[in-house]
């Protein structure tokens, strides 16, 4: 049975793209909020 690495790559690649895109969307929307641009990375969680 052939290994079909192409499909494996497609699946993992798709997952990576989708998850990263969602993460970036969240980050972008948070930065767009008023009062966010002045906040630095040194924020308490």
């Amino acid at each position: 049975m052939p290994d079909n690495w192409g499909f494996v790559l497609a699946a993992y690649g798709l997952a990576a793209v989708v998850l990263v895109a969602y993460w970036r969307r969240l980050v972008r929307r948070e930065r767009a909020l008023p009062g966010q641009s002045s906040r630095s990375t040194a924020r308490r969680p």
Partner: protein, 214 residues
């Protein structure tokens, strides 16, 4: 937040190592079976997400806590995300394995119904202007959808097994060797951490958005 994010990344990396480095090449399907380490944790996380939606919805209706509503909203969104991923990876896995992009087997069918139900939940939220009303209505839908899940499972399972030959059921390892289970578990933990991270971030965004609008 950054700590959680960092830990999540480490866990995801560990998951990948397990999936590709440690887990063995499956006998009948070849390496394409490794998609399972992506597909199965995705669906587990989706169910986790919707269980959280149920609890948060009930809490919101019972107590009126806005935090509960934000949690429900965020969890539903992340849940739909992982459900979509489950369907997509299931389909990609299915093509080389069964030769077809889609089949109405028990898992894919159930997950599709799940997907559409909670997509409707998000649609409802988008369509109601009054935030309080939207929160309440969404909570009701979240509760109905969650109680529907066992009904979906039984009906689809009976539909597929009582009249169809078992060869149509999703092929998977019958009794799984320990290594595969271990790899699965590591990936499940990694994905769960990713879920927590996403939901936390989403809730924070919701809270800040409502503060900004106030």
């Amino acid at each position: 937040m950054r700590v959680v994010g960092g830990v999540t990344l480490v866990a995801l990396a560990a998951g990948l190592v397990m999936a590709f480095g440690v887990a063995p090449r499956e006998m009948t399907q070849g390496n394409v079976q490794r998609i399972m380490y992506l597909h199965v944790p995705s669906v587990w996380v989706a169910y986790l997400a919707f269980a959280v939606v149920l609890v948060a919805s009930i809490v919101y209706l019972a107590r009126g806590l806005e935090g509960a509503d934000r949690l429900a909203h965020a969890s539903a969104e992340v849940g739909v995300l992982f459900t979509g991923l489950t369907i997509a990876t299931g389909s990609i896995w299915g093509k080389p394995t069964w030769g077809i992009w889609w089949t109405w087997d028990a898992r894919l069918t159930s997950v599709s119904i799940l997907f559409v139900m909670y997509l409707g939940y998000l649609l409802l939220r988008g369509m109601i202007e009054d935030p309080d009303q939207g929160a309440r209505y969404a909570a009701v839908v979240g509760i109905v959808a969650a109680f529907n899940i066992p009904l979906v499972h039984f009906s689809v399972y009976w539909w597929r097994t009582l009249h169809q030959p078992p060869s149509l059921m999703k092929p998977g390892p019958g009794t799984m060797p320990g290594v595969i289970v271990a790899a699965l578990m590591v990936n499940f933990v990694a994905f769960s951490l990713l879920y927590v991270y996403f939901v936390a971030k989403r809730v924070r965004l919701l809270r800040r958005e409502s503060e900004a609008a106030a």
